[in-house]
């Protein structure tokens, strides 16, 4: 390694990092998987899903928002962190209406893939069965809030890549929900377009392109073929200029 001052250690493996990288960035570059749902390389980290929490010098920190610093000793794969990640994932399932069998995102859904990765066999907690508003007003984009996990990837993508600011999270705690920045509050009156990153980045089945469901046959869907822990290394938001940044 060229620069011995730029290394951290994750579960006993010493890896290199570039100045300014977070622990998550460094881990992804070194092909070490730290579970995450709300992080997407190329967007500002938000640290809200809590799945990437790792142990650093006895403290719990989110890998996506913590700067890598020389000599950090990080624990990622521990039974305790696994248990916490399982609990978080199970809670995300029961808080929304995640009925994988009939969901069109099935096979391409990161929440589901996280369940596979963690070995989740049941949802453990009582189902919330929320009734949340569906917004089908846009001709090409569908918003089913009952599946939203509030990762705010769409919020950041719209702002940072599409340059539009279509989405926001309103409310707090159990009342937090995704809102649309238009006069009517409807997606149909917003300026979202079908090829916006915000319309395509949803890790679950909350924001969907209409009439595209079930097009990919079973067996060829993303997580039929690879685990989320491999797919994560290939992800990066497209360059800004492709999306007519105003």
């Amino acid at each position: 390694m060229a620069n011995n001052e730029h290394t951290i250690t994750i579960d006993g493996t010493e890896i290199h990092f570039k100045a300014g990288q977070t622990i998550m960035d460094a881990a992804l570059s070194a092909k070490i998987y730290i579970p995450h749902l709300c992080h997407y390389p190329g967007l500002t980290p938000s640290g809200n899903c809590r799945l990437c929490v790792v142990e650093l010098n006895g403290k719990h920190v989110t890998a996506c928002t913590t700067q890598a610093q020389f000599g950090q000793q990080i624990r990622n794969q521990t039974p305790e962190l696994h248990a916490a990640r399982m609990a978080i994932t199970q809670m995300l399932f029961v808080e929304g209406n995640h009925i994988c069998p009939s969901c069109e995102k099935s096979g391409n859904c990161k929440l589901q893939a996280m369940g596979y990765y963690l070995g989740m066999r049941d949802e453990h907690y009582p189902q919330f069965n929320p009734r949340r508003e569906m917004d089908a007003s846009h001709p090409a984009v569908l918003l089913d809030r009952s599946r939203c996990i509030l990762c705010d990837l769409c919020v950041r993508a719209s702002r940072e890549v599409d340059g539009k600011n279509v989405f926001a999270i309103a409310g707090r705690g159990i009342h937090a929900h995704l809102i649309v920045n238009s006069a009517s509050g409807k997606l149909g009156d917003s300026d979202i377009a079908v090829d916006d990153v915000a319309a395509n980045i949803c890790p679950v089945g909350a924001i969907l392109i209409k009439e595209k469901g079930y097009v990919t046959p079973i067996g060829r869907r993303i997580y039929d073929q690879r685990m989320i822990s491999e797919v994560a290394f290939d992800e990066h938001v497209p360059e800004h200029e492709e999306h007519g940044n105003d």
């Binding site: 069998p101 099935s106 596979y116 070995g119 066999r121 049941d122 189902q127 069965n129």
Partner: protein, 180 residues
């Protein structure tokens, strides 16, 4: 010889029978397996009540008072109780009625449907009481193992049963995990 056979009881509560179909998808392996297992109460047999069994396989969630009764009977009599499939584990697609008022569902089906004559909500002592919601079986009784999927593939049943035939606890690995 019969003494060594593993007794399996199965039932479908608020399920679609698809998990039972997946069990039959073991195909010719069923003929081999039938030398080592026997069915107790099951839709495949004419035994109507669960008796002491090694394994109980529950398909479907809980949507009537009678489902609760049957599920408790299985818990009492089965040494190992397995929730099979998405509906048993989470309520599944039938649990989508949970987002509505039960009365609205009944009215839609029996009062407001197209071409309905003699509209009324069926209400007879012969019909078991419907529960307000569809519940996962784990909300009602303790479950020992979960086989996710809609339905779980036939191999998942083998993965569960084969160690038991050797007198070992099932080792559920993540390889076949699919929620579909």
């Amino acid at each position: 010889m019969t003494d060594h056979k593993i007794k399996i009881a199965t039932t479908s509560l608020a399920g679609c029978f698809g998990c039972h179909m997946s069990f039959l998808d073991m195909d010719e392996k069923l003929a081999i397996l039938s030398e080592y297992i026997e069915f107790n109460r099951s839709p495949f047999t004419d035994i109507k009540h669960c008796e002491p069994s090694d394994i109980g396989l529950i398909e479907g969630g809980v949507c009537t008072a009678e489902n609760v009764h049957v599920l408790r009977e299985f818990r009492t009599h089965c040494r190992i109780l397995v929730a099979v499939g998405a509906c048993a584990i989470t309520g599944g697609v039938p649990a989508m009625r949970n987002y509505f008022d039960l009365r609205d569902c009944l009215e839609e089906a029996y009062l407001h449907g197209a071409g309905i004559t003699n509209p009324q909500i069926p209400n007879d002592t012969e019909l078991p009481l419907l529960l307000d919601k569809v519940y996962p079986v784990g909300d009602v009784v303790k479950i020992d193992y979960f086989l996710p999927g809609c339905p779980p593939p036939a191999d998942a049943f083998l993965q569960l049963l084969l160690p038991l035939l050797d007198g070992k606890a099932p080792q559920m690995t993540g390889e076949k995990l699919h929620y579909d």
